[in-house]
Amino acid sequence: MTEQVRIVTKNIDIPGIDTFSVYTQHGGFQALRKALAMEPAAVLETVKNSGLRGRGGAGFPTGMKWSFLAKNSSKPTYLCANGDESEPGTFKDRMIMEKIPHRLVEGVLISAYATGAKQAFIYIRGELAYAARQLERAIAETYAAGYAGKNIMGSDANIDVVLHRGAGAYICGEETALMESLEGKRGYPRLKPPFPAAAGLYGGPTVINNCETLSTVPAIIENGAEWYASYGTEKSKGTRIFCLSGHVNKPGNYELPMGVTFRTLIEEFGGGVWKGRKLKAFVPGGSSTPMLGADKIDTPMDYESVASAGSMLGAAGVIVIDDATCIVDAVSRMEEFYRDESCGKCSPCREGTFWLAQLLERLAEGQGRADDVKLLSDICDNMSGKCFCPLGDAAITPVVSAIKLFREEFEYHIIHHNCPLSEHNRSAAAART
């Protein structure tokens, strides 16, 4: 039996760990104290050596990202914690922020210290009201203890931390849209270049990291780069919090070293597919990553293995799909999400998601027309790589991967005007004809 490895989620179940006193009783802020005694460059070097990669989806090496920050800008450097967790299938940052908010605050402070940012922002998804209250309190407690603000822990370091609640837009999880939103503007992604490291928030060099990434930093500082790098695989170091959801007996967050297989996650931790059904497919990293067929269940959960299986580890939101699921229906629902969350800036995403959603709805209802699958694929092709930001590509991923895996099921819907899996649909179709 594999065990969870608790690094980010360490002590998360201790009652009262969301208070400053309990958090510090259990070693909280020791990493900050240790970091403040180091040179910022040494902190950065430690993070670099740990092999920590971004947990938001792209998996970019964190230390390297920090080292890209423009050195000679006339404007202040900023750090943003991306807590706009909105990807369907992910709920790890929310758990951190709700249950152990001080760890994020500590991670933010250490990271800001390492990158030379005097001002840090935690941008939190608007819907996460409880998490926001928890963080507000955690920040206030940290300030009260003298661990944030001026002369942190009696040192020369001055770092302010401000929590900003989003207004409820998926796009604001995209780093440049997040900055626009922070600046009080409409959440539209920005033109790149300039990249945030050169000119980001308010035009200053900006480092922006996912909450989980930043919450991992304290442990790395406390225990050293080598200790952290000893977890995981050669290229995918450390642990990740896998968000297991969907048709599974025990959904939830599981922190595991990278390289553990999906089978282990789904069968050992998740208690297997629910209702005694079989696995039809699974989404490995949140709805924006291509779904994989049941045959890929033994793929190790690390960046490289998932990539070679034809998908991405993304934000590690593993969605289990059982064999009673109409894939057209499932994809239709996902596309509805992208249609509603497209920011509307660029034409292909704005119009394409609208069109895809309608087409999929028609298909799922058994009203599809002969060339609809071909049309779906071509719409996706016209969006692929042609949208302004990566969200356009994300929006076509469920469609493209589902057609690749289950083309016959799509075609069945067209030929038979109903779903091969649903009695209900069959009778509904009969009633229509």
Binding site: R339, S342, R350, K386
Partner: protein, 726 residues
């Protein structure tokens, strides 16, 4: 910039096999433009920052991963190889067009934009022949008014954000915003700022589809029914370059011709849509003679014979009692022949027009004109508006000031009234009405006391420095603070800033000079400019902001009591405008002006024995007239105007002339011939030829030479003599 530096800041790239060199930072679309290669765009606009939203301008660039790229956001690099017509590009553009059309109502047959619509045109050129979309389109209520003049059709909108960006970036009056997201995205009125900009019409012009339409143009015409004539707006002294759109016999609208030197591609709403002057049914069509105290229609012959006999008789008997008032709205040619006939055929010296107060040029032939160029506002370091509010008088200049502001200029507004630019200014100094000249003097004082002078003046003008010291001795900023309540420190700081800035422009309104206390304003500002070298310094200038389309031309042509054409001094000056209207003359010939409108006691007009008025309409002055001669509007004649930066620009005939009225020059020619002087002018061009030969400032000017974008008469050559004369 040396040639080497220039070469270093250039990059050479190849587009479709053709090489082109462009400055660093140029986007691929611009480089392709230079080569004449068409890349379709919707969201991009050369006058606004790139957005990259419409995804229409796809090109393929070798060695850049993930093709295709957007040409409007990709900066050119050395050795870049661009292809605009690969299969990948074609498919991508086709895809974008199909996307844009799925929710478009395809109501071209009833859309005002149809025929000049980029969505229509690009679909024909690059789009799919048919749509594969067979589902439900999104619907909006339509049209909805977004301002008094503009209606929005959200179904036609392709969300390119040009209009929104115009209001935010260019006009800096954020009246429009994007609302909602995804397929519900729509343009909407900013709930915090009404869309009441005087520049709102530009959004209609730059809208690439029929989403924004002008109330005044809706369902009035189809683009292919329009006759389009390149001409110049007559609304104000900026002289924006316009394309007059005429349907049958009505001027429907002006569109921009984008002369970067003058208008930067923008028009104000008044210039764009207000054409009553041309179109009104109230236009005079027949000459009128007062008979039994009623203005009665007569033939041209009768009117001209009668007028000439009156003029001739009076001019022969008492030329000192005859006066002539010229116009800031008629052409250079008309003002030239007007003063020529008045002076040479009638032997009358009393001639003037309505203008600001400028020190008598008898003291030195200083042309009181803005010494810089309009485009200097773009890149200057400091702009001072001294009793001037371009937003109300020289509208598109307001956008220039804002452009300068965006490029880093410091704006200082010094005014007795709130102005539109107050909220944009770095500094607003509120002063008492009539103390503008005192402020200029205080700045001049500071320059002398702190020895801030520079350039030509500093080098060899010790005597001038002495005389200036004396002239401005009583105007220390500290005294001004006591007298006017303006911070002395602010004035001193401003003087230093103007002296040291990379470029500085000081502008005052022409009519601010007429306020009591400001009699010397023009000279004071000029002195200030001389001392700190604002005349020759780059991106600098000083001078008045004139009001009317040909204010400068009227001066250039010598419609002044003390100077002839080209500011040639006249030995015995005649009566000026005010004197003539206050009883100095008994017979008055008015061309294209309405003096009664400006008079405190217009009844003074009743004391005239004879008043002849050339006019488009009945107005305050014609009601006192004995003869009214109907004239043609700027849109119906050809000629030239000179704008506030001394740019001579060509008016083309946009409209078939109304039957009955005549161009002013022809009326004047008719009077001259009855006076026994037969001019051989067949057109106003012939008069321009004579101007070019006789007025040094206009030497060599012809309609061909002036061209489509106008020609500035030199100040640089003048300034040596100017400084010598002063």
């Amino acid at each position: 910039m040396t040639q080497d530096q220039q070469a270093a800041s250039q990059v050479t790239l190849s587009i479709d096999g053709k090489e082109v060199s462009v400055p660093k930072g140029t986007v691929v679309w611009q480089a392709a433009q230079k080569l004449g290669i068409d890349i379709p765009i919707y969201c991009y606009h050369p006058k606004m920052s790139p957005l990259g939203a419409c995804r229409m301008c796809f090109v393929e660039i070798e060695k850049i991963p993930k093709p295709p790229q957007t040409a409007c956001t990709t900066e050119c690099t050395e050795g870049m190889i661009v292809h605009t017509d690969t299969n990948l590009v074609k498919k991508a553009r086709k895809g974008t067009l199909e996307f844009l059309l799925i929710n478009h109502p395809l109501d071209c047959p009833v859309c005002d934009k149809g025929g000049e619509c980029d969505l229509q045109d690009f679909t024909l050129r690059y789009g799919p022949g048919a749509s594969r979309f067979d589902l439900k389109k999104r619907h909006f209520t339509k049209p909805v008014p977004v301002s008094q003049n503009i209606l929005l059709d959200r179904e036609r909108c392709i969300a390119c954000q040009r209009c929104v960006r115009f209001t935010h970036e260019v006009a800096m009056q954020p009246g429009l915003i994007m609302e909602n997201r995804g397929y519900r995205t729509q343009v909407a009125v900013n709930p915090d700022a009404p869309f009441d900009s005087i520049f709102s019409g530009n959004t209609v012009e730059i809208c690439p589809v029929g989403a924004l339409t002008a109330k005044s143009y809706r369902f009035i015409s189809r683009p292919w029914e329009l006759r389009r004539t390149a001409t110049v707006c007559s609304g104000c002294a900026v002289g924006c370059n316009v394309q007059a759109n005429v349907r049958v016999d009505k001027l429907l609208r002006h569109m921009s011709r984008t002369n970067d030197a003058v208008d930067d591609g923008w028009l104000c709403d008044t210039g764009r849509w207000q054409h009553d002057e041309v179109n009104s049914l109230e236009r005079l069509k027949q000459p009128l003679i007062r008979k039994n105290n009623t203005l009665t229609p007569v033939t041209w012959d009768e009117a001209l014979d009668y007028t000439t006999s009156k003029l001739k008789e009076a001019a022969q008997r008492t030329p000192q009692l005859v006066g002539a008032i010229g116009s800031t709205h008629t052409t250079n040619e008309e003002n030239f022949i007007f003063q020529k006939v008045v002076r040479e055929c009638l032997g009358v010296r009393n001639i003037d027009h309505y203008h600001g107060v400028f020190p008598s040029s008898a003291a030195g032939a200083v042309p009181w004109v803005y010494t810089g160029a309009i485009a200097d506002l773009d890149h200057t370091g400091s702009i001072v508006l001294l009793g001037a509010d371009p937003y109300t008088q020289q509208m598109t200049l307001d956008l220039r000031v804002k452009k300068g502001l965006r490029n880093g200029a410091k704006i200082t507004v010094i005014s007795s009234e709130p102005t539109h630019l107050d909220s944009f200014a770095h500094q607003v100094l509120t002063i008492k009405r009539g103390s503008e000249a005192a402020i200029a003097k205080a700045l001049a004082y500071t320059v002398i006391e702190e020895k801030l002078w520079r350039g030509h003046f500093a080098e060899n003008n010790t005597s001038l420095i002495q005389s200036h010291s004396a002239r401005y001795a009583d105007y220390s900023p500290e005294r001004m603070e006591a007298a006017l309540g303006v911070s002395a420190a602010a004035l001193r700081e401003l003087a230093r800033e103007l002296a040291e800035s990379s470029g500085a422009i000081v502008l005052y309104d022409e009519l601010t000079t007429k306020i009591s206390g400001n009699e010397t304003l023009a000279a004071d500002v000029f002195d200030l400019g001389m001392m700190i070298d604002l005349i020759t310094r780059k991106n600098s200038g000083v001078g008045p902001l004139f009001h009317a389309a040909n204010s400068v031309g009227a001066r250039d042509m010598g419609v002044l009591p003390d100077t002839g054409p080209g500011y040639v001094k006249i030995d015995q000056p005649g009566f000026d405008y005010n004197a003539m209207l206050n009883g100095a003359v008994k017979l008055l010939w008015v061309m294209g002006a309405n003096p009664a409108k400006h008079m405190e006691k217009p009844d003074m007009m009743k004391s005239l024995d004879f008043l002849v008025v050339q006019s488009l309409f009945m107005n305050e002055t014609t009601q006192y007239a004995h003869v009214v001669l109907p004239a043609l509007s700027y849109a119906e004649k050809i000629g030239t105007f000179t704008n506030l930066e001394r740019r001579v620009q060509v008016l083309h005939r946009a409209l078939n002339p109304l039957i009955g009225p005549r161009p002013d020059w022809e009326i004047i020619k008719g009077i001259a011939s009855r006076l026994g002087v037969k001019y051989s002018y067949r057109s106003s061009s012939d008069i321009l030829t004579e101007i070019a030969m006789n007025v040094p400032l206009y030497a060599g000017m012809s309609r061909g030479e002036i061209g489509e974008s106008g020609k500035q008469w030199a100040f640089a050559e003048e300034k040596e003599s100017v400084s010598a004369q002063r």
